[in-house]
């Protein structure tokens, strides 16, 4: 009994210590974003000056706008491509080059981002010399992020497609639907939750990425993480703490909203299947 008690306390202590490790940096960012001085070890007083500095920092604000747009575009592109790729892998059975296809699709999951960035940069430089297009900038960053995001998104979509009941699709085909009608009317609505999850995942990946953007951006095009990265290398800058705090608020809100959305969908499903109990 005594031993069990000791073990329980040790376990709780270990969990608490590791959670403290996980949350210490986040806590630090939030607290010191409200500090009245540049100090990063002593809290000298509450102030909003760093938020004001953030608001007036055009590089950070413009970087935010650019990152947001890039993330919107690349998440959408990645999700569409990943859905096609996942559909091909799960529904088409064996086809020529399937192994190669799968390998190329999932490689970016393990490839160091430096290599993805470098090899794409070489491609774009070559294409620009040969065809005069594409110029490095927003467009090339979107392509790079989409390549990375597609690998992650296809994992999510594939697992949903695998567990989806195929008989509904077959029934629709039997009732005379064309394949593309089946896809848009049956398959897509059925995997919509996975598509939302995949889109959100690729959005955050893109919004957070600094390495691929560093390789693929052109003059005058700097995403928010790139701006933060260049500030961060120079030393302490509480303006970044303020930006971090705002981002954390947005992320927490998004997670809550997404959680509520999932919970509601599940409740609706339950209501549909148990109309009496619901």
């Amino acid at each position: 009994m005594n031993v069990m008690g000791w073990r329980r306390h040790f376990g709780t202590g270990w969990l608490a210590a590791v959670f403290a490790f996980f949350y210490l940096p986040l806590f630090f960012l939030v607290v010191f974003s409200f500090n009245s001085t540049r100090q990063d070890s002593v809290f000298t007083g509450f102030s909003l000056r760093w938020y004001q500095a953030l608001w007036n920092d055009t590089r950070l604000v413009e970087g935010f706008m650019l990152s947001f747009n890039v993330a919107l575009m690349s998440a959408t592109l990645a999700t569409v491509l990943a859905t096609l790729a996942a559909f091909v892998l799960i529904r088409f059975g064996r086809f020529k080059g399937r192994t190669l296809f799968n390998a190329m699709l999932s490689s970016p999951l393990v490839m160091p981002e430096v290599i993805i960035g470098l090899s794409l940069l070489l491609l774009f430089v070559g294409m620009e010399r040969l065809l005069g297009w594409p110029e490095r900038g927003t467009f090339t960053i979107v392509l790079g992020h989409a390549l990375l995001g597609m690998a992650y998104a296809s994992v999510v979509v594939q697992s949903r497609l695998k567990e989806m009941d195929r008989s509904i699709e077959e029934a629709a085909l039997d009732l005379g639907c064309r394949p593309f009608q089946v896809f848009f009317l049956i398959t897509l609505p059925n995997i919509s939750q996975a598509l939302v999850a995949a889109w959100l995942l690729t959005f955050t990946l893109s919004f957070d990425d600094v390495v691929i953007s560093e390789f693929l951006s052109g003059p005058g095009v700097t995403t928010l993480p790139q701006v933060i990265f260049s500030y961060a290398r120079r030393g302490v800058n509480p303006t970044i703490y303020a930006a971090a705090t705002l981002l954390m608020v947005v992320v927490t809100l998004a997670v809550v909203v997404y959680g509520v959305y999932i919970a509601r969908q599940q409740r609706q499903k339950q209501v549909r299947f148990n109309p009496v109990n619901g």
Partner: protein, 303 residues
């Protein structure tokens, strides 16, 4: 019509992957066997026909230069050193993640079942906050007059602030911090499924809790340990942001060396050769892992 639709659905992702994954990869390979002096054309043909003579342009000088320093001799290059250092950091990070993460996942899997979803969410929540910002926070925390030094002094572990930033300490803290969830999640998934009757049986047979832990729990969770270690080790190898923010001049990892070679020295062929070797470094442990999983599946199939 059906056939056309099928080839369109198949064709779009094929085209995309070939253009943005396969072609860049071959350009990288091609660039790595180019001579600096020949100009930097990513699309330069590998085979040239001149006056009826076919010549193959392959220069392995870039690969040799990774190992051979003209003044110091074989194996005395900064490149080799940074590879070794990258592997070292990846190894120590994996070990630290395992030491911290295994008990964590173990106690998580044994916590109250109704608390588990919340605790898991708490593990994953920091994930959704920018990786860059979480690493950046450590720069403030580990500074000479930062909070960690205050804590160490308060605990009486040191009288004077010690240097924690821009050295091995900050590198390992940063990398362990970022990659710990990658270790915890597969371990948790494995440990939570464990059959408790085996532990009860071992205790009935007279094993102490410590013995049943080492003889039953740990061997049964081996696949989780391997999966978690791979998930930590591989991304650590190519880490770029953490050495840039938390490392000093000494803590050169290969990702940063590639970057410098590309943009500071403008030596694209050498950057490419470095990348090709880096790909090999990533593929080898992965191949070993795939082999391990395949053998495991085979064993389970045979009972």
């Amino acid at each position: 019509m059906h056939q056309r639709g099928r080839s369109l659905v198949l064709g779009i992702p094929w085209f995309w992957l070939l253009l943005f994954f396969a072609v860049p990869f071959f350009i990288l390979l091609r660039m790595s066997v180019t001579d600096m002096g020949e100009g930097l054309d990513p699309f330069a043909p590998l085979v040239q026909t001149q006056a009826g003579q076919v010549t193959l342009h392959l220069k392995f000088a870039n690969y040799v230069s990774l190992l051979l320093d003209t003044d110091l001799g074989w194996g005395q290059t900064l490149y080799l050193e940074s590879y070794v250092l990258s592997v070292k950091y990846a190894f120590w990070t994996t070990l630290l993640c395992l030491l911290l993460g295994y008990p964590f996942a173990y106690f998580l899997a044994r916590s109250e079942p109704h608390l588990r979803p919340l605790l898991l969410l708490m593990v994953m929540l920091p994930f959704w906050t920018s990786f860059l910002l979480r690493v950046y926070a450590w720069k403030g925390l580990l500074a000479d007059h930062g909070i960690v030094n205050h804590i160490l002094i308060f605990l009486g572990l040191t009288q004077e602030p010690i240097q924690l930033l821009y050295n091995d300490v900050s590198m390992l803290v940063g990398m362990t911090y970022v990659y710990l969830p990658f270790m915890v999640l597969p371990l948790y998934a494995n440990l939570v499924k464990m059959d408790n009757r085996l532990l009860e049986a071992s205790q009935d047979l007279g094993a102490t809790p410590w013995q049943s832990f080492w003889l039953i729990t740990v061997p049964l969770s081996r696949s989780g340990i391997v999966a978690g270690s791979i998930l930590v080790f591989i991304p650590c190898l190519g880490e770029f942001v953490i050495p840039s923010l938390l490392g000093g001049a000494e803590n050169m990892m290969i990702g940063r060396v590639v970057w410098d070679e590309m943009f500071s020295s403008n030596n694209w062929p050498r950057a490419s050769a470095l990348s090709v070797v880096m790909i090999v470094c990533v593929v080898l442990p992965l191949a070993w892992y795939n082999n391990y999983v395949a053998r495991k599946v085979e064993q389970e199939r045979l009972g």
